[in-house]
Symmetry: none
Subunit: 210 residues, 4 copies
DNA sequence: AATGAATGAGTATTCATTCAT
DNA sequence: TATGAATGAATACTCATTCAT
């Protein structure tokens, strides 16, 4: 019931490496076989340790997933919004800002495709995952809305919150589609269309220098 | 695969009804508990028949899912594209066409939310599902591209294929989000933003009557 | 969550036999290895069926135990109290009644020693078991108290409830000891002492005919 | 068994304290969670040392239990039998002796209820435990028999060995019941009944002064 | 003396699917 | 046609114990 066994937060170099190894192994296997298709024993084996060791570093099979996830979070926003704000401030046109956004959005998706697929799937399947991503989405939307607000009065949209939502939706879906599904259309054309969409939708004069 | 007990394609009225009952039962349970959370025995029980009977109507647990899916397909395209083409031909403005599209797109999602969630999740999880939906998406894109082409020369986009993709992506994601996830923003505002996005992105003069 | 899979209550002869076989197998293994030392797979194997079958007849590993237990219950009280009341009514002396009681109490313990040991152990270990046996004990005490009351005015005890408790405690412990532990003293001497104790403790004149 | 790292028998003060701490910690946890519900790591943590240290003081998880047990042994007999013999020698009536016995028997159970429950359960479960307690019981019976013999010719029982067994059984069971199980009857009534039983059963004239 | 990281065997339970009746 | 009893593989997680440091 009230058992102890707290999860080890490694300080020693060897411990840190082992944790790293386990997470890398997990990413490898999740990428190949998905979450349900991967079991703790296999992760441990792939990392060259025993199951017991796995469970001393991670509370759960889901635990290691959340930890992997956490690594990919936070950096994202900073890089994306940082770049865009700076561009807007230094006189870039709406179209240029959107092209940057597409590039940044793409750069953001660093996970192996299989991992991304798994993550996306679990949004619909796993309650914790849904909550986690919902929180992330909300935070992202707040920042995007703020960014749009800061671009006024160059914008043609007035409900920036809704506009942010629609833009984020379009971006996400296009990004994910190009990564996890086979597409007939080359990625570059899609990215260009995406940037064009943003430029035409959001800006009064997409090509006017800021 | 090469089994000798082929799946019954029911001709008799009673058989047809039983098949119907099973599919309805499955939808009910999938909606409540998802795909993995529902077992064949439970579906049979909910439909008031035995597991054996279930397996004489459907090859698989996945089999019934695919059959359910198949029902919801085809009708969709017709209704959506039919309405839009007619509107465009009878002098609707770009904005009006987009508003119609949003409405139609929304009307298209007739499945119970839980079923939609399950379906969306399985896109990323199940190979067969992915293939099925990829095929559907491709067909949809072809028709949407054709629709856009038929709207020339009123459009500002030239790569209609890419534009169709981006529009479809935005629509899908917004629709799905509003159905399966909790949103802070009211649906109507999102729909209006979506229509506005399409109008501004696609059309040279969104408010000009066709 | 709300899965179905109700436990099969067998009507067909073959089913009944299988259930019987499983329970007999379980008794055999519980007797030899105790509850924790026996796993469902082993019970199934001993009964010549698969684990799956085990779980279609019993909810749980504890389920089969409770079912085994239930078999040994109820008959007990009837036989014991029936005999004693009749003896008292037909003029038996206090001592004769007590000798009967000892005999009946002993006859009541029909389980194999290992099973009894397991059951006794689980009283202290398993919450469900504790509750079950507490309920049984309470019922038993009520009946025993009533029996004593019906023997008035031949008794020297006045607080029949407490007397019943003490008598039951002594009986139980002696019975259990002689069955599950090694004793230096021959069982017959213990039984005679037990009857003598009851006679001297409860009755004003233990040897007076009723 | 033939390992070369023998269990430390502490001579230094610090060692003795550590051993004490571990045993106290174990008692605390055993009381709360039982034997199976407590693991070596938890005991070590509760005592503020490492698992390794635990295993340098005790051979086993069972080892610490046996050591705890050993502490509670021996003192018991002395106190109980000492008091009773003295009372009998100084003119107490049979009833008075029995009342003293009840009081002493009760005072003897100093362990926390959870510990007692665990111990009682393990009698039936663990071979070592059974042997240990069997040995204790035998020794206790020998002394009790001797005590009874010393009370002759005031006794009505002749087979003092069997009488001792029955009395011990009744005492033990009543004590344990009142400690580890919920009872409807107040302890005092049970204790009075117990004393009355002993008086009436053992003594020719329970109220005659010795 | 002390630490605590590492090991890995062990177990209850579910469920898709088959097939004898 | 229909039944539902039977199968058995597959999986997450715990914990007593060791031993290199």
């Amino acid at each position: 019931m009230s058992k102890d066994t707290p999860i080890r937060t490694p300080q020693q170099a060897r411990s840190i490496k082992k944790r790293r190894d386990l997470m890398d192994a997990a990413v490898r296997l999740f990428d190949r076989h998905g979450f349900d298709g991967t079991n703790a024993k296999a992760i441990a084996a792939e990392a060259g340790v025993s199951v017991g060791t796995f469970y001393s570093y991670f509370k759960d099979k889901k635990g290691i997933l959340m930890d992997i996830l956490a690594e990919h979070t936070g950096e994202i926003d900073h890089s994306v919004f940082g770049k865009l704000k700076q561009a807007a401030r230094t006189g870039a046109s709406g179209r240029e800002v959107m092209r940057l956004a597409v590039k940044a959005g793409h750069a953001t998706h660093t996970q192996p495709p299989g991992v991304l697929r798994m993550l996306l799937g679990m949004r619909y399947t796993d309650e914790d995952m849904r909550r986690f991503q919902e929180a992330e989405d909300r935070a992202f939307l707040r920042r995007l809305t703020a960014l749009l607000d800061s671009l006024q009065p160059r914008l043609r949209v007035t409900d920036t919150e809704a506009a942010a939502f629609v833009m984020a939706a379009a971006f996400e879906e296009v990004m994910h589609s190009t990564i996890v599904f086979d597409q007939d259309i080359e990625r570059e054309r899609l990215f260009e269309a995406l940037a064009d969409m943003g430029a035409a939708y959001l800006f009064i004069d997409p090509d006017a220098k800021g």
